[in-house]
Symmetry: C2
Subunit: 324 residues, 2 copies
Amino acid sequence: MAQVARVDEHLAEIQRAATRIHGHVRRTPLLRSDIAAGLMVKPESLQVTGSFKARGAFNAVLSLVEREPGIAGVVTHSSGNHGQALAYAARAAGLPATIVVPEGVTPAKIAGIRSFGGKVVTDGVTYDNREEIAEAIAISEGLRLIHPYDDWDVIHGAGTSGLEISEDSRPGAVVVPIGGGGQISGIALALAVLSPETSLIGVEPAAADDAARSLRTGILQTLPSDPKTLAEGVKSKSVGLRNFEVIVGDGLVRDIVTVSEDELEDAVRVAWTRLKLAIEPTAALALAAYLNGRVPSGSEEHPTVLILSGGNFDPATVAALLSS
Amino acid sequence: MAQVARVDEHLAEIQRAATRIHGHVRRTPLLRSDIAAGLMVKPESLQVTGSFKARGAFNAVLSLVEREPGIAGVVTHSSGNHGQALAYAARAAGLPATIVVPEGVTPAKIAGIRSFGGKVVTDGVTYDNREEIAEAIAISEGLRLIHPYDDWDVIHGAGTSGLEISEDSRPGAVVVPIGGGGQISGIALALAVLSPETSLIGVEPAAADDAARSLRTGILQTLPSDPKTLAEGVKSKSVGLRNFEVIVGDGLVRDIVTVSEDELEDAVRVAWTRLKLAIEPTAALALAAYLNGRVPSGSEEHPTVLILSGGNFDPATVAALLSS
């Protein structure tokens, strides 16, 4: 899609995305808990394929089929939730999907992609060359590369959760994990017009604070090396260019806060034992920020809404956290 | 409350209960998952205090305050979800609550009851004499005993989840764990009139199959000894008399099936990893029955609805299950 400059045009695209993906994804509930009256959570862990990524993947695949009905298939570079969601959405649309995965990724992730019908390519793939290899495959096999976050269709799909939030609540704040920035930029574009009084706040692990530094400096910052964090869903070295444009350029994100690894571990335990939701560690980032007073505490009428981004956890990791 | 004989009078009581407890409890969502299109779950784990017991506890306490405004307080014998829910509901109504708990119960459970403002009595209490001791305290201190399941107010409160199911779906079957039978008898009375085409099915651990035998023989059966099961929420030695009347006497439960301990352990893992819900083992009983083909598989239009009764799990137990 050509870049749409104005926020209300983006909103119209998000509304079209919601219609397009309706019936393929779920409307996730907005839940209260016993933690505090001013807190609500939106568990995207309950979304199709177990993460919010299904929204963007379906919008990208279905938009592609509308624009280029003869397209041979799609390709991406993501061993995580986007890879699974794209494989799933492509299969639903009758398209083949190739997922480029670095050698050494856990067999469970590869099995996950294959269970959704995706073709996995690993030979000679590293974290550094995977994007390049995906682009080469796209060209040689006539596939369309669907970037995990730096793609307007993906951003508009992710923004559909923002529409749902604005229909279900009048939040004082919405708190969203940031990796590549796809989810928060979509939600930002949805809420900018529909709920302008809502403060949008991003959360990163302190070990992967590139977006926080980008917002503070106004210049796109990049992590020097692969960050060590339990939040493996937000390890991207920087946000995408389109995401930077929305988050920093358009000024649609109020603040980006960080949490420590200890705070994140505690938040995972709280999510499981008190929210009663089996989320993945990355999805506990917003809860960690909330529990440590880094975001507004909210009120019953204008709650703080935390996006719990996914539920595809490694059982052994979570078992270790629960028994410690 | 005097015993109400006819099913439609019970329904009216359940509807009054819904109005009475509104604002104190939550309307839990009815969720789909990636497991199967014909499956829906109602996670009472997301209910106030982490289990469906809050519905009955609030209805009992608020009904009591309406009928006997000068009552000194409430008492019960339950170290589990009913004890916590009653302590919580009593505090909300400004009444003291005494919870009679056998010596040797885990400190976490006692701490849970105290965190909701309940007074815990343990001296000389065993599993066998706890009901007697609670009755003695009720008489000597002028408190009202709120039985965990053999009480019409508790049953009508539990039935409010049946109202919600009938508003949200047209299920082919609803599957409910059975301990004392409070939850299934409430839901049975709600669905009998509102959704007569729905088959109501109970589930027990094979090691605690008293209700299944009661339904088969038409005579109230009792377990010979304390059953060994991971499903600690359904260890009652028999269903209550009022519960028996509804389940067997009124013929409102189509079938009661049993699951093995291995099947239950597997179901807990599936609940956490595929439903993405952090439920307690007892709450996985209906899922175990579903996964092993003991209840109808359901259709998208007429799904099988599983009641996930609570989320107050022991972290060490679940950690062991997840890492095995």
